[in-house]
């Protein structure tokens, strides 16, 4: 176990949601549906729970109704406990504006942090699909006697206006840290996860607040790089950070690869999500499905190829779907043709509708629309 209950997980439910405006119009980053039955927060929460963390605070900013609905008491993640469990930390009563930056968010929960007894805090965004055993990260953190351990991946960083890129020596020590625009090949990029002592976090946040500094990467990590022992742990398994609508689409499509699924969905570290009590998916006579992911409660009578089909979707006879992401409870009418379409929840495609995007530009159909 990860030092028993000595770690609190803090999740930032809203960070980077402006990058996927389409999907976050009615919801936070954390509750974006993903992979046929999940929400992004499921990966962040399951990683914590599977690593033995049983106290998790979820910081929300606005639009968090769908997230609350999804999380409920935390039962599905085994976080509805007498001792600790899930804490939703909405902005009410916060004397700071969370949109100012992560430091302001952390300052707004200073009471929650102060009243906790756990020695360590694990901070994580909810924009990454991954399956990481934080126990390994923690072991690394203690072995290196680090003050802060950040988690990074090696490779081509996503194309955003703000990437954190580390220069790491063979020991894992962070020599330099850049915050920069645009994608780089062969670099060590962070994806918003780090471990540090709770008291150190409280002190640094207070210090930053008193100097009007709100940027966690710049004002907490970068500013202290010379004075603190900051180490970086490399995550080598599959991880997809959702940085744009297109990367969201690609990350979904990546699940068709058995190797990716094997890294994300491990039997010993399952990804938990809210239970829906749907029946198993039903395939009719004359249906044709290839290379697709289909969730419970679907009724498939048409043709489906290279698609992610969420729970409770109906695909009627004669409909033909290719390269689509169809979210829960959508209805695709008879003889529809959809290609490179991402349909949000509860979309109805009337019979015979045709819609097509392109691999580089999938079409988005908003929640509850009728085509």
């Amino acid at each position: 176990m990860m030092r028993g209950n000595d770690v609190i997980g803090i999740l930032f439910a809203y960070v980077h949601e402006e990058r996927v405006r389409e999907l976050t119009e009615n919801r936070v980053m954390a509750s974006i549906p993903f992979g046929g039955r999940y929400r992004l927060v499921d990966f962040a929460l399951s990683n914590l729970v599977n690593s033995g963390v049983n106290k998790v605070g979820v910081i929300t900013e606005q639009n968090y109704q769908s997230l609350m609905d999804h999380l409920g008491s935390g039962k599905s993640w085994n976080l509805s406990r007498k001792r600790e469990g899930l804490y939703l930390l909405p902005p009410f009563g916060a004397d700071t504006n969370r949109t100012d930056g992560l430091v302001a968010s952390l300052s707004s929960i200073h009471r929650f942090l102060k009243n906790s007894k756990e020695e360590y805090v694990l901070l994580s965004n909810c924009d990454t699909v991954s399956n990481i055993d934080y126990r390994d990260v923690f072991r690394f953190h203690t072995e290196k006697n680090a003050d802060i351990t950040v988690i990074y991946r090696h490779g081509t960083s996503p194309d955003t206006d703000r990437n954190v890129v580390y220069t790491v020596d063979p020991e894992g020590f962070v020599r330099d840290m850049l915050i920069k625009r645009g994608s780089d090949a062969n670099c060590n990029y962070g994806f918003g996860k780090c471990i540090l002592r709770r008291q150190m976090l409280i002190d640094m946040v207070e210090d930053c607040m008193s100097r009007n500094l709100y940027d966690f990467d710049r004002d907490v990590l970068q500013r202290n790089l010379k004075d603190l022992k900051v180490f970086a742990y490399e995550c080598t398994s599959a991880a997809y950070t959702i940085t744009s609508f297109h990367s969201y689409f690609e990350a979904n499509m990546a699940l068709m690869d058995p190797k990716v699924r094997a890294q994300l969905f491990l039997p010993e570290r399952p990804v938990y999500t809210k239970v829906r009590d749907d029946m198993p998916a039903k395939y009719g006579l004359g249906s044709s499905v290839t290379n697709s992911i289909v969730a419970d409660g679907c009724i498939i009578d048409g043709e489906v190829e290279n698609c992610i089909i969420f729970r409770g979707v109906k695909v009627h006879k004669g409909a033909k779907l290719q390269n689509c992401v169809i979210m829960q409870d959508c209805v695709v009418g008879e003889d529809c043709r959809l290609d490179y379409v991402v349909a949000d929840k509860n979309v109805i495609f009337d019979a015979g509708r045709k819609m097509a995007g392109y691999q580089s530009y999938p079409v988005y159909v908003g929640k509850g629309s009728r085509v």
Binding site: G35, G36, M256, P258, R276, D277, P280, A281, Y283, V294
Partner: protein
């Protein structure tokens, strides 16, 4: 004292279910998987919750381990409430010795103290081996309206088949005047579904009287109900129209599963107003690979399908390898069908493995001797060696070693 519950349901889940052979060797019958993600007991439990019955006693005796674990706190069925909920009731030791449950009636008699805690007006007695969706509230309303001592749910069956069932002979107002167990010359076509509503006060009296009778088998059908009839209690048949199937045999279990694939069978598991709740596996959605053909099948989460499926039901986490063919079969959780294997008209139980190129079961039309045809069964955790063959009607037990 607990708050009064108007109705308490008692679910008889202790039977061995020996006709299911290897499937119930280490498992109580109500815990047998059904319909891709359910277990048989999900049906009566969900019916209870959907009918507004909040207190359920589950009487267990035979191989209760997995069943107990499955029921747990009752949370998946919303039966984990503070004052009511589901309770597993095994036989227990009392100051004057202890007894196994001797018969269905005795199982209830031994649990009179449990029932009395809720001070109910009515007790519903259910069995754990039927697949159906039924609103017990309507039956209880009928029971009240008739001011009956017992109401028994019945289903109309074809006269030709009536001799296979327990038949209730009724008057014009559906009051019962005779029990006719598997009659050679049936006088009526109303079959007993094994669903009873009792006025608790009356049932209690007859249970205690039955307990005093040393010659009694302490069985509802054989002893208690006839005694009530002889005493002139009001007994009514409640006609139920809808899908109902006893899944006590391999054939009927297989058929009931196949019924889910038949659009003409009125058993809709997707009805949002009458959900069948169950423990949900924590697995990703299933994957259907390129080149696989899936026709008229039910597939649960966590499956990886590379081969061909037709008229089949896959439970959670099943793997069907490239080139494997599964037809008219039920593949239970975690089973693997390896490359080129052919599974037809079969039940492959939990975590069993059908090796590459093996053949399990056969189409009836390919049999020379039709009488020898039947569903082939590969027992839980059994292995069928690559290239081996499991004949129709054959039942493979894991403990008998690998089938070669």
């Amino acid at each position: 004292m607990l708050p009064k519950q108007e109705v308490v349901a008692m679910l008889l889940a202790g039977g061995q279910g020996s006709r299911l052979g290897v499937l119930t060797k280490n498992l109580a019958k109500p815990a047998v998987p059904f319909g891709g993600k359910y277990r048989i007991i999900d049906f009566p439990l969900s019916n209870c919750v959907n009918s507004g019955i909040e207190t359920v006693g589950v009487l267990t005796q035979y191989q209760p381990l997995e069943l107990n674990e499955y029921i747990g706190s009752g949370q998946p069925w919303d039966l984990d409430s503070m004052d009511a909920g589901v309770h597993v009731l095994p036989p227990y030791q009392k100051s004057k010795g202890s007894d196994w449950y001797k018969g269905t009636a005795n199982a209830i008699t031994q649990n009179i103290p449990f029932i009395e805690r809720y001070n109910p007006d009515y007790v519903v007695v259910l069995s754990g081996d039927h697949i159906y969706k039924m609103d017990y509230a309507k039956m209880i309303a009928f029971h009240k309206e008739k001011d009956a001592a017992v109401t028994i749910a019945v289903q109309q069956v074809p006269m030709a088949e009536a001799s296979r069932f327990g038949i209730l002979n009724t008057n014009e107002d559906d009051s019962i005047y005779e029990f006719d167990e598997k009659p050679k010359q049936p006088k009526n076509d109303l079959a007993n579904m094994g669903i009873y509503v009792f006025t608790w006060e009356k049932l209690r009296k007859f249970l205690l009287a039955d307990e005093e009778d040393p010659g009694s088998d302490n069985d509802f059908g054989k002893n208690v109900l006839p005694a009530m009839l002889n005493a002139g209690e009001k007994m009514f048949a409640y006609r139920f129209e809808g899908y109902w199937k006893d899944v006590g045999t391999i054939d009927s279990l297989w058929e009931a599963n196949m019924d889910l694939l038949d659009p003409n069978v009125p058993l809709d598991l997707g009805d949002p107003d009458w959900r069948i709740y169950s423990r949900n596996p924590v697995m990703p959605p299933h994957y259907i690979a390129k080149g696989s053909q899936v026709q008229n099948s039910l597939i649960a989460e966590g499956c990886n399908v590379y081969g061909d499926l037709e008229f089949s039901i896959l439970f959670a986490g099943v793997y069907v390898a490239p080139g494997a063919e599964v037809m008219s079969s039920i593949i239970m959780p975690g089973a693997r069908i390896e490359e080129g294997a052919k599974v037809q008209y079969a039940i492959v139980a939990e975590d069993a493995v059908v090796g590459a190129g093996a053949v399990v079961g056969m189409k009836p039309e390919e049999m020379e001797d039709k009488d020898k045809w039947g569903v082939a069964v590969v027992g839980p955790r059994a292995h069928v060696a690559p290239g081996a063959c499991v004949a129709p009607q054959e039942m493979l037990d894991a403990e008998e070693g690998v089938k070669r």
